[in-house]
Symmetry: C2
Subunit: 470 residues, 2 copies
């Protein structure tokens, strides 16, 4: 049995750990799928590139409010797909080749299955598709193991077990494959109300697909601040066919696609179905029952502030252990694990405060910290302030009727505890607030302690801060 | 002679000073032109709104790189003008009415002419155009006088004294009137190479006008960092007919416009000429020779850090006294004067560090602090770092080939001394750097002391900071 100093399961964020400082370590990197993980292959990066084309289409379609007459004549879907994945696949291949060229690293294109805390059974992934009988197996051991195996798109049982799905007459797409479909559908049903649903509804509708969004809840993006959820739901209703308080009770194959039968008695004909029901950690199949590694009720590997699991010498990071499911959080955790592997006597804790996130839909959304409801649950005494894009000059320039910046400030300290932005550039506009939260700069100092370009869009943030009355 | 506690000359930024805290003061506000000053009427705000339409047109014209086929069918220039000035003129009228409704404020629509340090002759501006002979005059005095009379577009003598200009057969437009022309010209010559030229070249060319830019210098935006100037000049050459190292030696009227004769022997036919040769302070005509108020060689009123002129009880702010000619600087100075008028025993100094500025052209530009050349002149030991938009995921999504973020960091302190961004959202992206400079956060802490959303465009800033090797 081959012995390694470090074994890393998953070549997404996990692949960031190994650098020159590990040159004297014998390292195994085990990846059953593609290098780059969810983010690069089926997540953040390709979706944002599709959003790039969607935003561009929206710019054409929205030209009239700028007193321009424009028309969108065509969408070259195959061109979009090939531009995006041409770039991404090249990066993925380069990342794998880079590792294969490292003298001290062995790359296993395998599934990893724990036999004990420090022994892994590797099940060859490369042969699965063609000759499952030929699956090769081997065991390795490692002093330190990093679990960075990520997550996967979740398809709820009530959908996966429908007869038409079971017999293959209806295909349920997820974010894993929807970006590589051969051609644009005419009509798509998206099941789900979270950020993945919001982003794909924007992408496909902007590119000309009739989109129906089916949401169990009474609003979209319900985990966001209520002001965001309300504004976004309103915008969604104006853009797409949105069915709130509704579930899918059946899907049947039709001659040219499928009929999705809903709990309100209606049905939607479509030729493509996307399930956007969240993502689950990739712990099943890892064999964690053979170890002392503990998981929580959601199936996530439990880690402490140093990213240590309950098994000595086993670490975890990213979507397999994090509630956040955000690449920038996984990257941070990877840096923490990197440091801690190199400095076992001087461990560094991961920092999980002031974590921003974005939803690249239409309109764009960015959020950090607490929602109003969370602040209330925590019993904080807070002051809220909201300024609309249409109240600042650059919002006039953008002719933006819906955008806003909301800040939530703790009265006693004057510190920002949450902020929520809807509208153009939201994910860029949020950064000064993230920075202030991270460096403990009070809202008033943030507003008046620096210049803000007039009349840049940043004035919507400046004015929201100025309007806070403690 | 009517006596006031405070007289404010100019209702641009000067109009911000008076609030409820001045309720017991008798105030005169003297404005010969429109309330709102340069920024609202002929500067930042309308130009950005025109840029809004220009950017929208560029989005249509650039759709192909997103694998979309789109076309721009028409530009409703009158619609643009009327949308923009409909909004602005309403705000201007409301601002004046608000002041007229203040019990303690008298509004004089007049030119102000100093007779002595504290006595002003008011020359009625309202009647000038129609019956100059009927000009009314009166004198007022005030204990405190604030000079906030702004600046005006400069037309160099070698242009204004050309025969065709003198006899009126050729009109030289400036930023004062070019936004209200009746219809879009076919061909426009823009004389100048600074930010006003850059913004209007973008506006008019995007809306379909053939634009020629005539620049005396060997590059556009030469006051910017050399990396910005070079990149922008390259982009300009690809978009417009740019004549560098060239001056206008004559302009002659033609049957359908004008012929602009250049120093290189060539000539450009056009039907509209815009002079964008900078702005000069409005000190001529103020009668400052009758006072102890000093001006510098550029005609600017000289002020100290408290915005005091050399005459006791006379203050100045904004473009009439500032090298910056930026609205956000004028606003800050107005707040300083406001404070100092109310707190004569506890004066506050204006802060003129880390002042950002933007050029809303194509591509957008934002800058703060020192250029490389300035850092070198000061003998600073600095490290520079540049990351291109195309190196980060959101740059891929934007399909942006030219954008970049450059940071200049002092080696000994690790503090950022300058930053320069070219590309989409530049003026928004710059803010975290402005903030770090204002709060003395070193580059390394700025990069790693907070989360940056992946994959938002902010990563271009994050990565530029991370690439700094001190």
């Amino acid at each position: 049995m081959e012995q390694f100093d470090i074994a890393i399961i998953g070549a997404g964020s996990g692949n960031m750990i190994i650098n020159r400082k590990f040159a004297d370590k014998k390292v195994a990197i085990i990846e059953a799928d593609k290098f780059g993980g969810t983010c690069l292959n089926v997540g953040c990066i390709p979706t944002k590139m599709f959003v790039g084309s969607a935003d561009a289409a929206q710019h054409v379609l929205g030209a009239e409010r700028f007193n321009l007459s424009a028309q969108l004549n065509g969408v070259d879907w195959r061109g979009i797909v090939s531009r995006i994945f041409g770039r991404i696949d090249g990066n993925v291949a380069a990342a794998e080749q880079f590792r294969r060229d490292n003298d001290n690293v062995t790359v296993f294109k395998s599934h990893a299955h724990f036999v004990s805390d420090h022994v892994l059974e590797l099940i060859d992934a490369g042969d699965e598709a063609n000759s499952p009988a030929a699956v090769a197996e081997q065991r390795i051991s490692a002093d330190q193991i990093v679990i960075a195996a990520g997550g996967h798109a979740h398809i709820p049982d009530h959908l996966s077990q429908l007869p038409a799905v079971m017999d293959g007459s209806v295909v349920l797409h997820t974010s894993d494959d929807i970006m590589r479909i051969e051609q644009l559908p005419q009509r798509m049903v998206i099941i789900g109300s979270g950020f993945i649903s919001a982003e794909f509804a924007h992408v496909f509708s902007s590119l000309g697909v009739e989109v129906t969004v089916v949401a169990r809840a009474d609003a979209l993006l319900r985990r966001h601040d209520v002001a965001v959820s309300q504004q976004f739901t309103q915008c969604a209703v104006e853009q797409w066919d949105v069915r709130l308080n509704t579930t899918v009770i059946d899907i049947v194959a039709t001659s040219d696609g499928a009929r999705v039968v809903l709990s309100d008695g209606s049905a939607v004909e479509c030729d493509s179905i996307l399930v956007a029901a969240g993502r689950n950690p990739n712990t099943p199949g890892l064999g964690l029952h053979n170890t002392s590694i503990e998981i929580d009720e959601g199936g996530r590997v439990i880690v402490d502030e140093y990213q240590r699991t309950s098994a000595q010498g086993v670490w975890a990071l990213g979507d397999i252990s994090s509630h956040w499911q955000l690449k920038h959080v996984a990257n941070h955790e990877a840096r923490v694990v990197q440091h801690n592997l190199l400095n076992p006597q001087n461990l560094k804790a991961a920092r999980h405060d002031a974590i921003p996130s974005g939803v690249f839909t239409s309109p764009q959304i960015a959020t950090v910290g607490l929602t109003s409801a969370q602040a209330q649950e925590l019993g904080l005494d807070v002051v809220e302030s909201t300024v609309d894009y249409k109240e600042v000059a650059y919002g006039w320039a953008l002719a933006d009727p819906v955008g806003f910046c909301k800040v939530i400030v703790e009265r006693s300290s004057g510190l920002i505890v949450g902020a929520h932005i809807v509208g153009a550039q939201a994910t860029t506009l949020l950064q000064p607030i993230v920075q202030a939260m991270s460096f403990a700069v009070p809202a008033a100092d943030l507003a008046r302690g620096q210049y803000w370009i007039h009349p840049a869009l940043t004035e919507v943030v400046e004015n929201a801060l100025l309007r806070v009355r403690l």
